[in-house]
């Protein structure tokens, strides 16, 4: 009986796991990674053929849509990026007006990194844009993961296909690959470290590689994070950009 109980105990999580649908995996991952509100301090380390450089930033975010990033490193001090649902605005201390990015300009890379402004705006609420399918369980960087394949629901999604490896226990992304319509790998994201704050686990150190451009990579590091805190009102408005 005892043995049976042990077997049963051992089986329950497995059964639970099997019962996990791809949708549930993605939903749980987003619950971990997309916060109602957050304040983070971090660094962006950009490596390219000319060497390596680091920008530090403070970011405030609300849900999947709103974010305000302020750079604090010497080279970019005071520069801010405001992302709302559909638009990206840039604020520069030396400029008297805001720069609104739209259309093709969103495809430009942010600070010369492997991340485009579009990457910052898209990639949220995955289930709205993608059909998902669980295609297996693999070990990534020593962690057991679900392998989930995403296929765009519409033709206007930047990355028509993605594969995401989600930690089986922590439901945090461990690795992601993004593909072009015809299946060529464009970008890969590796999560090197995770962080747990207020019971939520999310990536704390990621390396993003633009596979087409060899010898370049961007490392995204979060040093401190607070989640579900109260944020100043109107922080995600144009006025707040011009403090």
């Amino acid at each position: 009986m005892k043995a049976a109980a042990i077997v049963l105990m051992a089986l329950i999580p497995a059964a639970a796991l099997v019962a996990q649908s791809a949708e549930e995996i993605i939903t749980r991952m987003e619950q971990n990674q997309v916060h109602d509100t957050s304040r983070m301090e971090g660094r962006l380390i950009i490596n390219d053929r000319f060497g390596s450089r680091t920008s530090s930033f403070i970011s405030h975010a609300r849900g999947a849509d709103d974010a305000l990033i302020e750079f604090t490193s010497a080279g970019e001090r005071g520069q801010k990026v405001l992302r709302t649902r559909d638009e990206v605005y840039l604020f520069y201390p030396d400029a008297a007006e805001l720069i609104r990015l739209q259309g093709a300009a969103l495809r430009d890379s942010m600070l010369g990194s492997d991340v485009s402004y579009e990457d910052m705006t898209g990639n949220r609420a995955l289930l709205d844009n993608y059909r998902v399918r669980l295609t297996g369980e693999e070990t990534v960087a020593g962690r057991p993961t679900f392998r989930v394949e995403l296929e765009a629901r519409s033709r206007n999604v930047a990355y028509p296909r993605q594969t995401i490896w989600v930690d089986r226990e922590l439901f945090v992304m461990r690795r992601a690959e993004q593909f072009s319509a015809n299946g060529r790998l464009l970008k890969e994201v590796e999560v090197k470290e995770t962080m747990e704050v207020s019971g939520l686990t999310f990536p704390a150190r990621m390396v993003i590689r633009d596979v087409l451009k060899r010898n370049s990579s961007t490392e995204f590091v979060i040093d401190t994070a607070e989640v579900n805190i109260s944020l100043p009102r109107n922080i995600f408005s144009l006025e707040s950009l011009r403090w």
Binding site: Q79, Y92, D94, A95, E97, I99, R100, G112
Partner: protein, 420 residues
């Protein structure tokens, strides 16, 4: 009697005929001189524009800029610019050093983006390189320390902005981050190169350095050399001096520990300059047509003269003048005529070129945007080619006179005297 005296007398006796011959030679010489001046004008204009705006006579940059040109490597700068310029000022042959900070970027308008290139300049030093004040169409130059810009006329038109209005440019910094700055337009400048007039705006170098996150850094240092480019051109070798100075400058910089920098002479940098050399070839072909035609006129005229004077030739040979002396006589006549004609033609050509050199020939919008040439072309008299034209005209005309004269010398006196 001396042959030259006879030749002279013959010329003045048949004044009308001589005048016609002189005219023919003169017109040919005039046309060719004018044509060469035009080409020379274009060449010097091109050289001056390349030197004034793009490269100076010798340009110092980070040596890897060329290699990564398409990647917009604004971070490959000339560091310790003050020290570098001091070193360069000490290099023999360098008359002035001019720092520049160039930043290509995008100007955001309501729903359009315009690509433009900002250039941070040190106005005082810039004046040593070219007459920048003459180019200011309206307003004034930007003052150091202020976010002010002088905008190329075409760019201003494209932006739809005038003096007093502002624009914001987004650019990549020397730290390879991004930055944007708003400038107020305080002046408009008419840059003689359409491509620059359509993209350039000038700002104080300190603001450009601030925008670009450069400390004591510049994108390039341009230099003007002591001899001056025009003198070099007149001496026939516009480029030899620059190459030598470039070598010396680079050696001096490397010796002082600035190993990342390279110095290159302007003519080694610009592709466009070789284009004008192509033009020169085409114009040489055209000049050849002119020479052939001009020579044919001279040959013709002399032939007429010889036939007309067959009787005279007969008389002369009857009086015992030998064939050789006859030829020499005609040669001398031809020589005098051609010297007069060529001198007149070249002189007129020079005068015409000098006048046009002041007024300019306006080619309007007809000049291609992509070339480093302005819309008004000022012909420039090139001493060397003018002398060549003169000597060539004289030589061709005199030799042309000899050809029919040889025929005349073979005529027997009896036959000659019978001629009409």
């Amino acid at each position: 009697m001396k042959l030259s005296t006879i030749a002279f007398r013959n010329i003045s006796r048949n004044r009308r005929r001589s005048l016609l011959s002189i005219t023919a030679i003169a017109v040919a010489a005039l046309s060719i001189t004018g044509l060469f001046s035009l080409v020379e004008g274009m060449r010097i204009e091109l050289a001056t524009n390349i030197q004034s705006y793009s490269t100076g006579e010798v340009r110092i940059r980070h040596s890897d800029v060329d290699r990564f040109e398409i990647l917009n490597p604004v971070h490959l700068t000339v560091e310790n610019a003050t020290e570098v310029m001091t070193i360069l000022d000490g290099v023999e042959g360098v008359a002035a050093t001019v720092p520049r900070v160039e930043f290509p970027g995008a100007i955001f308008l309501d729903d359009d983006t315009v690509r433009a290139v900002g250039v941070g300049i040190d106005l005082e030093r810039e004046r040593a390189l070219h007459d920048i004040d003459a180019r200011l169409v309206s307003g004034r130059f930007a003052e150091p320390g202020r976010n002010e810009a002088v905008v190329g006329t075409r760019l201003a038109r494209e932006l739809g902005l005038g003096i007093g209005e502002r624009f914001t440019i987004l650019t990549t910094t020397a730290l390879r981050g991004s930055n944007a700055m708003t400038f107020e337009i305080v002046g408009l400048i008419d840059l003689p190169v359409p491509a620059l007039a359509a993209t350039w705006f000038l700002v104080p170098i300190d603001r450009a350095q601030h925008l670009m996150r450069m400390s004591d850094q510049v994108s390039s240092v341009l230099t003007r050399l002591e001899a001056g480019s025009l003198a070099g051109t007149l001496a026939g070798s516009p480029t030899a001096g620059a190459t030598a100075v470039a070598t010396a400058a680079e050696a001096a910089l490397h010796a002082a520990g600035h190993e990342t920098l390279s110095a290159r002479a302007w003519n080694e940098i610009s592709d466009t300059y070789s284009l004008i050399e192509t033009f020169t070839i085409v114009y040489d072909i055209i000049a050849l047509f002119f020479f052939v035609l001009g020579s044919s006129v001279v040959i013709n005229t002399t032939m007429m003269v010889v036939y007309e004077r067959t009787r005279e030739i007969g008389t002369l040979s009857a009086m015992g003048m030998g064939g050789g002396r006859l030829i020499k006589l005609f040669f001398l006549e031809g020589l005098y005529l051609s010297v007069a004609g060529a001198a007149l033609g070249v002189a007129l050509g020079v005068v015409l070129s000098l006048v046009l050199g002041v007024t300019g020939i306006n080619m309007g919008d007809a000049i291609s945007i992509e070339m480093e040439i302005g819309t008004v072309i000022y012909p420039v008299v090139n001493l060397r080619s003018t002398v060549v034209v003169f000597l060539y005209s004289v030589a061709v005309a005199s030799i042309a006179a000899v050809l029919p004269a040889r025929k005349a010398a073979r005529i027997s006196p009896v036959e000659a005297l019978r001629a009409v």
